[in-house]
């Protein structure tokens, strides 16, 4: 189909699946962490902020190696998830999703946090005087007003996950059909004689997906902005 080989299709579909799962699973954690960092005062906040942003500045290979140590078969977290949930990460697509989620998390966190920080808190106070409990205030006022930042965060995380290479290849290797995604497949094809054409095709697919994601985020954001008109 479309001139792609079965291997190429597998890599494209796996990339979309891994990036989607990574983004969806990371989102609630990012919203919680962003809210905590934007609104709460607690000891060790600077340290936690730093740790959460580490994957953004650390060499991806180091992040991948850390994941291998903690979520690998012998790692404490890896054992826990396998024993209690039957979930294994090393050399599996689930591990690729974990690596991509960890790498995309700080980008999502930053976008969502900025968005929480930009909300006029007196709107939440107003909701409180109208009878809304803190949980309802968050659901009916804070979260909808933070939506533009959440959309940006989701797209950034998805795009980062789609292009992730270093942490993924270190943690789950590059196994066709299981952990080989677009970026690792391109790397493999450039190593094989005569693989340039396939590498180029996948590179174009990658560019198209990223462009589509950016355009979708722009359209969504404009719609939300028009509804919210937060910058009146």
């Amino acid at each position: 189909m479309l001139g792609f080989s079965a291997d190429e299709w597998t890599a494209i579909l796996l990339s979309l699946r891994v990036a989607s799962v990574a983004t969806v699973v990371a989102l609630p954690f990012a919203i919680f962490a962003a809210y905590a960092l934007a609104r709460w005062k607690f000891p060790g906040k600077v340290l936690i902020d730093g740790i959460l942003h580490l994957p953004l500045v650390m060499p991806p290979v180091v992040t991948g190696y850390m994941l291998l140590l903690t979520f690998g078969k012998q790692g404490a977290a890896g054992k826990f998830f396998y024993d209690y949930f039957g979930l294994s990460f090393s050399f599996r697509w689930t591990g690729a999703a974990l690596a991509c989620g960890v790498m995309g998390f700080p980008l999502m966190l930053r976008a969502v946090r900025l968005s929480f920080e930009a909300i006029d808190r007196r709107l939440e106070t107003a909701a409180g005087t109208l009878g809304a409990s803190p949980a309802w205030r968050f659901l009916l006022v804070t979260l909808p007003l933070a939506l533009p930042g959440i959309v940006v965060g989701v797209i950034m995380c998805f795009a980062k996950a789609l292009g992730e290479f270093g942490a993924t290849i270190t943690f789950v290797s590059n196994i066709p059909g299981e952990t080989q995604m677009i970026s690792t497949a391109i790397y493999s094809y450039t190593e094989i004689p005569g693989g340039e054409e396939k590498a180029l095709r996948l590179a174009i697919v990658s560019i198209v997906i990223c462009m589509l994601a950016l355009v979708a985020s722009e359209i969504l954001n404009r719609r939300i902005q028009r509804r919210i008109a937060i910058f009146e």
Binding site: L130, G131, I228
Partner: protein, 228 residues
């Protein structure tokens, strides 16, 4: 005439590094104006009644119900106080329509026979034609009318207004003052109205609590207005 208990009473002390407040006053039916210069503590008192700020010590009651009593360890959280708050700059929810804004409080407070009816409130405040609009498309005067409707429809036991006319031109101020007079006379809800403008006090207040540097300087009825 029998002595009715005051609709609300405030006794509050609050000390911070840059200001201190120590006030005791009772409200009267109708509109009680908290009048004083900037920094006299007017808005802080309003926040303490609404529960968005805690006094260091004090007793605040509204309609016979204790909202804050530091000695007894009572502090009712803001969302259970049944106060309507009209902010200086309206603070309408920008992601909701005007209709959704004014019904916001109804989602959380049980419908009561005594609550003002929506059609009555929108009619009095002249916002029937605005219900499908977004706050961003409203003028300053329209926003304040919607904010007033939103507060009234949440079935408040007391209505708190924090300089609601400060951002408006003279024509709009006059228009909203007429509406506040109607709200004061038509709905039996005590109003606490914060202002530093004399003509607002003269026109709207039944009782004036004059504040200076966090203290009550004088409490006067509307008949003693020339004194202010």
């Amino acid at each position: 005439m029998t002595n009715m208990p005051p609709p609300f009473s405030v006794r509050a002390r609050l000390k911070r590094s840059h200001f201190s407040i120590d006030v005791t006053f009772d409200g009267s039916p109708g509109l009680t104006a908290l009048f004083g210069h900037s920094g006299s503590g007017k808005t802080t008192i309003l926040n303490m009644i609404a529960g968005t700020q805690r006094p260091d010590s004090g007793l605040i009651t509204v309609d016979g119900r204790t909202l804050t009593d530091t000695e007894a360890g009572i502090f009712v959280p803001p969302h259970r106080r049944r106060v309507g708050f009209v902010f200086q700059d309206a603070q309408l929810f920008p992601h909701l329509t005007v209709g959704q804004n004014i019904r916001f409080g109804r989602w959380f407070t049980p419908a009561e026979d005594t609550a003002p009816r929506e059609d009555l409130v929108t009619g009095v405040l002249g916002i029937d034609g605005l219900l499908r609009r977004r706050p961003a498309t409203l003028s300053g005067g329209e926003k304040q009318r919607v904010a007033l409707a939103r507060a009234l429809l949440s079935s408040p036991r007391i209505l708190l207004m924090d300089e609601p006319l400060s951002g408006l031109d003279d024509a709009r101020r006059n228009e909203i003052m007429t509406l506040i007079e109607r709200v004061r006379d038509d709905f039996a809800i005590p109003i606490v109205y914060v202002t530093h403008t004399r003509d607002e006090v003269r026109r709207l207040a039944n009782r004036i609590v004059r504040l200076k540097d966090g203290h009550v300087e004088a409490t006067t009825s509307a008949y003693d207005l020339p004194d202010i």
